[in-house]
C-alpha cells in the first residue's frame, strides 16, 4: 500500500470505526502478500454491517466463523520497514463471549 493510498483510506475511519458487524464468510489465510506476511495466519472476512457488506482483514491470532460478531478497530495493516511510516487501517476484532456477557 502506498502511503498516499493509506492517507486517502483514512476518510473511511469515522464511518466504520467502533461499529459492530456480523461475519458473512471468512477464510483463514496461510499465505499472503509480502506486506502482510508478518501477520500470518490471519483471517480475511466479509462482514454484514447493518445491511452493508464490507470486507477486511481480521486482527491477528483470532479465529472467526460465519455468524460471529466483530467490532471494527484500528490496527497496523502492513509490516513497516524501519524507516517507513506505520500504516494503520480498519480491521475486524471478534467480540468475545466474555465481553458480550459484560455488556449484558
Amino acid at each position: 500500500m502506498q502511503i498516499t493510498e493509506a492517507w486517502r483510506s483514512n476518510k473511511n475511519w469515522s464511518k466504520y470505526l467502533g461499529r459492530r458487524a456480523k461475519v458473512l464468510a471468512v477464510s483463514l489465510m496461510e499465505v499472503a502478500a509480502s506486506e502482510q506476511v508478518a501477520f500470518l495466519p490471519y483471517s480475511y472476512l466479509l462482514l454484514d454491517l447493518d445491511g452493508e457488506k464490507i470486507s477486511m482483514m481480521g486482527v491477528a491470532s483470532q479465529n472467526f466463523n460465519i455468524g460471529d460478531e466483530v467490532e471494527i478497530v484500528l490496527r497496523k495493516l502492513k509490516k513497516e520497514a524501519q524507516a517507513e511510516v506505520i500504516v494503520y487501517g480498519l480491521k475486524a476484532e471478534k467480540i468475545s463471549s466474555l465481553t458480550l456477557d459484560a455488556l449484558d
Binding site: E5, A25, K53
Partner: protein, 372 residues
C-alpha cells in the same frame, strides 16, 4: 452467425524457462498460421490477450510485438480483462468480424509469468482485485471466501472440492500440452498445504507460461468449427458489492446472451471448458452456466456427471487447474482446444467460459460443428 475457427494453436503450458515473452509470441503466430495454412497477409487485424506483460516482463505495447511478425503489419490491439483477457479478445475479434470491418483476424493470448518470484506473481495477479476495498486479500482468499459461503449455504464438502481437482488432473493426462500429467487422490488434495481455508494448494491453478492462438474468419472455409454464440457479463469488482455470494452473476449474464445467440440450451452442450482457477470456481461455473441447479454441481462432480460418460464433460483439457493458467492465454486456449475436439469428431456443440478477477467479468463462447 458466420464466423469460423480456421486455425488454432496451443503451445505447451508450464514453466518454460527457455522461452521469453517474444519467443512465446513467435511460437503462437507461426503455429496458428501453419495450422490455418493461409497466406499471412490475409490477416486483417490482430487482438492480443495479455493480463500483465508490463508487470511480469516490463513489456507493454504487445499489439506491435505481435504485428511485427507479419510483413504487412496488420493493425493490432491488446485486450485486458484480468484472467478473462483471452475470452474478451475473442469477443472483440468476433465483434470486429460481425461489423464487417475485417474478414479474417488473429487472436493471440500470451502470458510469461515465471520470470518473477511467486510472491511477485501473486502481487501482480492481486491487482485484478479491488485495491481499495480488498486490501490484505489474495485471489485464493477471495475464492476461499466464496467457497466458505457456498459450503455454509449449500453444504458443499471438502471431498466434493477435491473431486473437481482429481477429475481435472485425470483429464489432463490425455492433453500433451497440459502443465501437469499427474494423478492425485481425494486425500492428497484434501491434505495438501493450506493456502486460504478451505482452499489448499491443490485446489489452486498454477502459475504458468504459455501461448494460444486462433484465427477467426467470416470467409468461406472447409474448417469445421463455427462460433454459434457469445456473451459477456459484468459484476462489481469487489465481492462486498455483490448481491449474492453464492453465484457469479457475470457468468449468468454471459451464458444467457450466448445461449440466446446460439439458439441452444444447456442440454445441447456436450463439453465445456470452464474457468476453474480454484476448485470452487468450477462448481460455481457449472451452476451459473445452468448445467446444474444451485447447490447440485458439487454432488454431480462426485457422481461422475462432469466427466466422460456423464451429463457433460467439464474441462476435458484439464482446465486451468491441470492444463495450466497462463492468464492471457487461457481464454484463447479454451476456444482453441474445443475447436480441436470438434475437428477430432469428439463433440459437436461445446462451450468456453472465461472469468476475470473474482467474477467481475465473464465471457462465454459457444462453438459447434459446421455441417456445411
Amino acid at each position: 452467425m458466420n464466423i469460423k475457427v480456421i486455425g488454432h494453436y496451443i503451445g505447451k503450458f508450464g514453466e518454460l524457462w527457455q522461452q521469453g515473452l517474444s519467443d512465446l509470441v513467435k511460437e503462437g503466430v507461426e503455429g496458428v498460421l501453419a495450422d490455418a495454412a493461409i497466406d499471412p497477409t490475409s490477416i486483417d487485424a490482430i487482438f492480443v490477450a495479455n493480463k500483465a506483460g508490463g508487470s511480469f516482463n516490463e513489456q507493454r505495447h504487445l499489439g506491435a510485438l505481435v504485428s511485427e511478425h507479419f510483413t504487412h503489419l496488420p493493425p493490432a490491439m491488446r485486450v485486458e480483462g484480468a484472467c478473462a483477457s483471452g475470452g474478451l479478445a475473442v469477443v472483440a475479434a468476433q465483434q470486429a468480424l460481425l461489423s464487417g470491418l475485417y474478414q479474417t483476424v488473429l487472436v493471440l493470448g500470451v502470458e510469461k509469468m515465471t520470470d518473477v518470484s511467486s510472491g511477485q506473481a501473486s502481487a501482480i495477479l492481486a491487482t485484478a482485485a479491488s485495491r481499495e476495498k480488498e486490501y490484505g486479500s489474495t485471489f485464493p482468499a477471495l475464492y476461499a471466501v466464496l467457497a466458505n459461503y457456498h459450503m455454509h449455504r449449500y453444504g458443499t464438502t471438502r471431498e466434493q472440492l477435491s473431486s473437481v481437482v482429481v477429475k481435472n488432473h485425470l483429464h489432463a493426462l490425455n492433453n500433451p500440452k497440459a502443465q501437469f500429467h499427474k494423478e492425485f487422490t481425494l486425500e492428497q488434495v484434501s491434505e495438501s498445504t493450506k493456502v486460504a481455508s478451505p482452499l489448499r494448494l491443490l485446489d489452486c491453478s498454477p502459475i504458468s507460461d504459455g501461448v494460444a492462438a486462433v484465427i477467426l474468419s467470416s470467409k468461406t472455409s472447409a474448417r469445421q468449427t463455427q462460433i454459434l454464440g457469445f456473451g459477456q457479463g459484468q459484476d462489481s469488482l469487489a465481492l462486498q458489492d455483490r448481491q449474492d455470494l453464492g453465484q457469479l452473476v457475470a457468468t449468468q449474464k454471459a451464458a444467457k446472451q450466448a445461449f440466446k445467440m446460439a439458439s441452444l440450451s444447456q442440454k445441447d452442450i456436450q463439453a465445456a471448458e470452464v474457468h476453474d482457477c480454484f476448485s470452487i470456481a468450477e462448481i460455481l461455473a457449472a451452476e451459473d452456466l445452468g448445467f446444474f441447479a444451485k447447490g447440485e454441481a458439487a454432488g454431480a462432480t462426485v457422481a461422475g456427471q462432469t466427466t466422460y460418460g456423464g451429463k457433460l464433460v467439464i474441462n476435458p483439457s484439464g482446465g486451468l487447474k491441470a492444463c495450466g493458467h497462463p492468464v492471457g492465454a487461457t481464454g484463447v486456449k479454451q476456444v482453441a482446444f474445443l475447436a480441436s475436439l470438434i475437428e477430432a469428431g469428439q463433440f459437436e456443440r461445446v462451450l468456453a467460459h472465461n472469468v476475470g478477477g473474482s467474477g467481475a467479468t465473464a465471457v462465454v463462447n459457444i462453438l459447434g460443428r459446421n455441417n456445411h
